[in-house]
Symmetry: C2
Subunit: 463 residues, 2 copies
Amino acid sequence: MPYFDTASAAPLHPVARQALLAALDEGWADPARLYREGRRARLLLDAAREAAAQAVGCRPDELAFTPSGTRALHSAVAGAAAGRRRTGRHLVLSAVEHSAVLHAAEPYDTTSVGVDRAGRVDPGVFAAALRPDTALAALQSANHEVGTVQPVAEVAEACRAAGVPLLVDAAQSLAWGPVAGRWSLLAGSAHKWGGPPGVGLLVVRKGTRYAPQEPADERESGRSPGFENLPAIVAAAASLRAVRAEAAAEAARLSALVDRIRVRVPQLVPDVEVVGHDRLRLPHLVTFSCLYVDGEALLTGLDRAGFSVSSGSSCTSSTLTPSHVLKAMGVLSEGNVRVSLPAGTSEEEVTRFLAALPEVVAEVRGRLGAPSSGTEAAPVADAVPVEPGADLLVDSLGKRCPIPVIELAKVIGDVPVGGLITVLSDDEAARLDIPAWCAMRDQEYAGERPAERGTAYLVRRRV
Amino acid sequence: MPYFDTASAAPLHPVARQALLAALDEGWADPARLYREGRRARLLLDAAREAAAQAVGCRPDELAFTPSGTRALHSAVAGAAAGRRRTGRHLVLSAVEHSAVLHAAEPYDTTSVGVDRAGRVDPGVFAAALRPDTALAALQSANHEVGTVQPVAEVAEACRAAGVPLLVDAAQSLAWGPVAGRWSLLAGSAHKWGGPPGVGLLVVRKGTRYAPQEPADERESGRSPGFENLPAIVAAAASLRAVRAEAAAEAARLSALVDRIRVRVPQLVPDVEVVGHDRLRLPHLVTFSCLYVDGEALLTGLDRAGFSVSSGSSCTSSTLTPSHVLKAMGVLSEGNVRVSLPAGTSEEEVTRFLAALPEVVAEVRGRLGAPSSGTEAAPVADAVPVEPGADLLVDSLGKRCPIPVIELAKVIGDVPVGGLITVLSDDEAARLDIPAWCAMRDQEYAGERPAERGTAYLVRRRV
């Protein structure tokens, strides 16, 4: 049963399991104690720090182990901003950072740097957002939802020139290699590279101003309070080393599989948008969105067919809003699927996925009564516009993604070319998906305006 | 090789190891995901929460898993104080709380409630410290250094009457049973009961005002950000249940062994003060201090003899100050040893410890040139007071515990009864150990006054 959601959590690497078991026996004691069990634990901790630092490309004393990547990011934002509180409270972030960075940045005055349709930041635009009162900048090494690799080295140089420290969220890329460039802070997460959960990395380069915001604690240079999760730390470091030893070969192999998915999915399934950069991307991750498809139903269908994937569609989020990443990219969010292949994924598994996908999508579309591909605007013989002005109103209030888009598609043929359709919707996904549909169907998106209930989205028939 | 430092970290319970292994295979995926691996992880997480809640005596939705007991305490203090920020910024804590509580309380206006020589809080004194602007009170269930059990239920009632929530640090006692009384918040730590490191418990009873101070995160009811450390959580819950099943029998057995240590150590080793309450105490923990002994040398000697214990002596702390617990109790801190027996400790191991201790202590005392027990004040034939006023000055500046006390003891016989000795010391431990020595030797401690360098401690010969 193929598991294709490594970007959420990678299955435990065999080396991690082995190291964890050994460390449970040798490393359960307090490494701060002077007796033999404590000294043994200390040796294990020191060795793990050495190994992790080598893999990251930093000094061991620059690296602290935290309880998770999320906590590493939280600490990094708060600690670096406090370290430079005299400079100001302004942060610069890309719009597609992980929610852990966005939430940690909430108390600050933040500039969000947009991305292109591939999800990539423009280094010049990022540099232009730096201000004299900028305390910290943050840019991920690669995006967690669409796999796009960011120009970290260039942005790091711009930050250096402006005297602003750069925090890199390297959670998605650390399995594949160190992050190039002269960044100041870095965070990672072991369970993304095949290590156990419960371990994050927080790197603060020497010379970076940093004032921990957690209560005082002697462990991990005062940067991560609480008893060290030593067995898991040992396993995390050992597995990072193991994963890196296989990284080049595995990256080439998985990247070919991802290329195959990128090419074949739009051929096999009508009305699919593959999102994210086609070259500057993580080797193992691909994301696409399927028109007229309910993301949750798609996930359930794929799960039933034996494939575990995740989605950035609004219906799969607890807030019923589409992923902020897809939103920032301005791409379709409905029927969204993220496939992230674990190391060792076979060609045959990908073949089976490609064989199963079209039927699952067709089944969901059929159930939703979605129009057939490309037939939407075929002039309907008895199409009679409601008003002489040739305009139509589609009331989709109370209906969730992808229904508003399906209802729009169903009536576009009912207005003449030049006619206007107004879609009333209170679904947050419509704001993203109606313009995306217009772009895919070559119809004109004429903007939105507030309505008595929800929002009115205006679409003018062009073809 | 007996390990007697369970209060720092308990060796992993066999059930914890077993559960951890099983959960590594079944519970590595993201419990927030809808596919089968995620659902399986969710089931494990829910079951672990049920089990832990039952052991604590709370509802499952009142309990969040945190990365450590320390983080649970940090979150609890900040979250509960913020939840009642309109009431005020005043906290009431016992003077012997764990440093995680004390550090978390630093930003607030805090009243520290003292303890008696046994380390126990007086509920009436605690209640009297509550004020109209008290946002939170905190009291441990039992002390981590001396094992004294606190009157939590009575203090909880007083807090309830005053409308103040009570936070209980139950890290040391959770292995033995739930905490009685109507407390509002509770924290625990799995590696103290034989679970793995990386798991703490944070319980917030329904109706308690609580505003998490970490950045927003959907996991653990928003009370503990970051990917759940699921295999360790499963192991923590399973081992808590296993430990509880054995608790009554093991408590009786270990308590008898501790009683034996409490009785035998002062018989076997001269000039020992057993500290902590003799009845209202944890079943497995005993602490004593040895006059004229360097704590670090004692620990090293015991380690060489095969025994792992810890110490609250100043020389074993990175800050060179004695434990704040021993300080609050006003007891001797030099040559301090904490013995905390893990489950399964045999009578024979305790026998071996009692056999080894006297020689190790004697060896350290010999090396330090400590006076023989009870001979200090024997009038020395050629004792000539420095001044006609019959007073003596002992310059111990730059010397560390237990040297100032040893130097005092060596000259007490040199002054006549009624004569005054002034000990100059810049060692923080002297403030605690010189009065303690006076009490043990029935000499009069006449107070301290600032000196040009360090502090002058005044001792008047009484016998």
